[in-house]
């Protein structure tokens, strides 16, 4: 795919770190002015394609020249705002860029079905603002700038989730609850940044790290640490702070769920890693303690409890939302090992999880598009009525369980290996238990899809109906990626490894 990136003119490549944020921001305004949803969708598609190209181009630049530091407006850091691309955030940029492109491609039929005609252009506009925010959080090197982008993405997320109200009014309350919790999270984060600013007198993250290393830590930085972990934990749906997530995912428009599930919480999780490893140092005693006693323990509980909750859900998307909370637990466990291999396995699972959940939610969206179904038992017979979508769903579902020949197996295998290296038998046991529970809830979905007969209404059996090709293409692409990256795991493993090395080995 590298050849795509080479199309960019040299001037664009030079300013790629700024353009990757500026282009979606300007397109958001353009999309809002468009006369109808279809034209706005074209704007969104072009934007997402440009962003995907820019992220590939940045990957090339980082691999060739090392860390890119882009000075906004020519003001040198630490006074100016710095956009910084290194091996840690490049996987996230690629993830948001490429998944974003696939999701936008998928959006047209799905949005046309779920959102009122006169609101579609504005919907795409809000989506592009959210896209901007996620990219901004990923790329910025400035702590306060990160807060602003976090809120840009969150506020637009509240809006696009609430747009699900056309189908189910509970989207409104889900969005409202997310707004309250998300804002508390963001405010906690900004309190933490304020404390760090008090302690260091700077907002540039690299500069902060250098000053903290020099001056050492005190009560103020410890308080900052606690506030930042809680704040970003809320945004990343870390286990006890995940309450906003199930309803938000269950009632948002299908396209929004597919996009958010594979990008938004991932980006917040990245921000957390950035603070834990780059700003605070993993060798500092209280950070190290938080790994074992907070992330590993809570991650393990999340893996088991959230999976257990998932087993008992009646709504298919809610079920997968709880599963997402459990998967965040896997990532937390990887992070909590505090070793380079643990962190890289957590990141690998983060990327793989985006592939699975993207495909799963897209397939559920396809079912909803053709038959308007959302409950687990309504999925009955989908294997006969929509075989292509059901197959994609099955592949991604098996990947979620961690069946060999899928990426889910790869990342769980690596996680188990890393846990054994650390001598954490209990974590391995929890991983197995959680995988069994995953098998239970995925089996519920799959047995409904393949085993049950299609329901008949008034004596008429549901007919076979193919999903639109714009839905099928990105969905199959993601589902096949789940298999492809099992056999060619190297690119993803390499990305995760070099990300972990960049933050653990760098300082």
């Amino acid at each position: 795919m590298q050849f795509l990136a080479d199309f960019l003119p040299a001037g664009m490549a030079m300013h790629a770190p700024a353009l990757i944020v500026v282009i979606p921001l300007i397109s958001a305004a353009l999309a809002a002015l468009m006369p109808n949803g279809r034209v706005a969708w074209v704007v969104a598609l072009i934007t997402a394609a440009l962003v995907a190209m820019l992220s590939l181009n940045l990957l090339g630049q980082v691999v060739a020249d090392g860390v890119i530091s882009y000075h906004m407006g020519g003001w040198a850091p630490p006074l100016g705002i710095e956009y910084r691309v290194d091996m840690l955030n490049i996987p996230l940029l690629l993830l948001v860029g490429i998944i974003g492109l696939l999701c936008v491609f998928y959006a047209l039929p799905s949005v046309a079905d779920e959102i009122a005609e006169n609101k579609q252009a504005l919907f795409y506009s809000a989506f592009l603002v959210c896209f901007t925010g996620l990219l901004g959080v990923t790329i910025t090197g400035d702590a306060f700038n990160l807060f602003v982008f976090l809120e840009i993405s969150s506020i637009s997320t509240y809006v696009i989730i609430a747009m699900g109200a056309g189908k189910d009014r509970r989207a409104l309350t889900a969005s409202y609850n997310y707004l309250i919790l998300g804002t508390i999270g963001a405010t906690f984060f900004v309190i933490g940044v304020g404390f760090l600013y008090m302690a260091t007198g700077t907002l540039n993250m690299a500069d902060m790290a250098a000053i903290l290393e020099e001056t050492g830590h005190n009560r103020v930085t410890q308080a900052a640490f606690a506030f930042i972990v809680v704040g970003l934990g809320l945004k990343a749906a870390m286990f006890p702070l995940h309450l906003w997530l199930p309803n938000a995912y269950a009632f948002a428009p299908n396209f929004v769920t597919a996009f958010l599930a594979s990008t938004a919480t991932k980006v917040a999780f990245y921000a957390l890693i950035r603070f834990l490893f780059s700003v605070f140092h993993p060798d500092v005693s209280f950070v190290e303690m938080s790994f074992v006693w907070l992330f590993a323990v809570v991650g393990t509980i999340a893996m088991v409890v959230a999976s257990l909750q998932a087993v008992f859900q009646t709504d298919a998307r809610r079920l997968l939302a709880y599963s997402s909370v459990a998967q965040v637990g896997y990532m937390m466990l990887g992070l909590g090992m505090g070793t380079a291999s643990g962190l890289s396995d957590g990141l690998l699972h983060l990327m793989n999880h985006a592939l699975m959940k993207g495909a799963l939610f897209m397939a559920l969206g396809a079912f909803a598009l053709n038959f308007g179904v959302r409950r687990v038992k309504d999925l009955a017979g989908m294997g006969k009525t929509m075989p292509a979508s059901a197959s994609a769903f099955t592949i991604a579902g098996l990947s979620l369980v961690g069946v060999p020949l899928t990426v889910g197996f790869t990342s769980k295998w690596y996680l188990v290996t890393a846990a054994l290296e650390r001598g954490w038998w209990w974590a391995v046991a929890a991983l197995m238990l959680s995988s069994l529970l995953a098998l239970a809830y995925v089996a519920r979905l799959l047995s409904a899809i393949w085993m049950d007969a299609p329901p008949s209404h008034h004596g008429e059996v549901m007919q076979r109906r193919l999903a639109p090709w714009m839905v099928l293409v990105p969905m199959s692409f993601l589902a096949l990626a789940n298999i492809y990256f099992f056999f060619h795991a190297d690119p993803l493993v390499w990305l995760a490894r070099s990300a972990a090395e960049a933050v653990m080995g760098g300082n």
Binding site: E151, Y176, Y197
Partner: protein, 175 residues
């Protein structure tokens, strides 16, 4: 204990406000009141930032005797940079002025020298908070818009009633 509190008296009202805000968010069942609490919580954080910008004995970060000779023209630029902090101000102002006409450059450097003699409060937190206020207003606007829509479709903005409505919907449509 009292001494410690007295030294940090500026934080006390902020913490009290913060806790009131957070408590309101958790305790009330009314969606609008919950947003009021949220705003209170956010605003107290703005105050936290403002209070750390204060330098004891520091003047407000506005260049004095400057507007008097020059009015508002291009000088407005140099004023902005001169306030950043004394040492950087000289550099920044000089650097900025290099691009302007020569007398303007001289003038900016003079001003910067003047700036170096005065102790200013830190203006950066104020700038940050201007941004955070905008974020807060946007959040509040979206929140209130949601409440309006919730009221339109549910006919209530009480949390209990909303839950009851959703629950009956879930159980009612189960079959």
């Amino acid at each position: 204990m009292l001494e410690i509190l007295a030294e940090r008296f500026n934080y006390i009202p902020i913490i009290i406000l913060m806790m009131i805000g957070l408590y309101v968010v958790i305790a009330t069942g009314n969606l609008v009141k919950r947003l009021v609490g949220l705003s209170l919580f956010q605003t107290s954080v703005f105050l936290l930032y403002i209070t750390i910008g204060k330098v004891f004995g520091g003047a407000p970060p506005i260049l004095e005797n400057y507007k008097a000779d020059d009015g508002y023209g291009h000088g407005g630029n140099a004023t902005g940079y001169g306030t950043a902090d004394a040492a950087h101000a000289a550099d920044a102002a000089a650097g900025e002025a290099a691009g302007h006409a020569e007398q303007a450059a001289d003038h900016a450097v003079d001003t910067a020298h003047h700036a170096a003699e005065v102790l200013y409060s830190n203006p950066l937190p104020h700038v940050l908070i201007l941004t955070a206020i905008v974020v807060g207003v946007a959040t509040l606007a979206v929140g209130l818009a949601l409440v309006v829509r919730i009221r339109e479709s549910y006919g209530t903005i009480e949390d209990d009633a909303l839950n009851a409505a959703d629950y009956s919907l879930e159980t009612g449509s189960a079959e």
